[in-house]
Symmetry: C2
Subunit: 103 residues, 2 copies
Amino acid sequence: MVREPLTEEQIERGRALGALLRQARADRTMVDVARASGISVETLRKIEGGRIPTPAFFTVAAVAATLDLSLDALLARIDSADAPAPVAATLGPALLRPRGIAV
Amino acid sequence: MVREPLTEEQIERGRALGALLRQARADRTMVDVARASGISVETLRKIEGGRIPTPAFFTVAAVAATLDLSLDALLARIDSADAPAPVAATLGPALLRPRGIAV
DNA sequence: AACTATACCGGTATTACTATACGACTCCGG
DNA sequence: CCGGAGTCGTATAGTAATACCGGTATAGTT
């Protein structure tokens, strides 16, 4: 097999991501959010419904930006089970992960 | 056409993302980072080289976590061409807390 | 009631792309 | 010489993103 099918864990992770985006959309329409994010309504609907377990990075980023969400906060919520804070890196301070994560 | 080919902009965006990840890896080996991120070396190399313009969300997230990077900061740097960081955003929080634990 | 418009859901179909493995090649430090 | 790291090309199963069709439900209109 060249590429392994997604594990149940990854699928569940996708469902969690979709649920968070759905919740953040609140009472805005799918059409509105999809247009503002530059993606099709079909794609947004599939992501929210968890039918796309591992969407593209910039797709998620666009939706998150439209909904005013932090990607770091989204991730923290998704794997809130095990998320040990790693040691800081040696790059610029701007690229370091924020310590206090809040949505 | 069912799905439009990627635009030159999207490709350039992918190159920018890869360059940032490459820079953040510094002197760590690809093998090390790839293993720590749970992806193959081939994939990491392609992402760093910008040959995967729109990688999966969780793939980028895993690498960023390994390198101790903030996804929000990554995005901000990628779109820094036409979206410079707002003054208010960089001024307020920066005064309140040290951005990272510099090593 | 019947018609219209909007929004959400489900399935199907199709192209573009990701993630991976394999092999060969270069470079560099022991 | 040899082993590890990185590069490059080829190949392929699996997935993402999109469009289209129909169906349901709700709300406004005539």
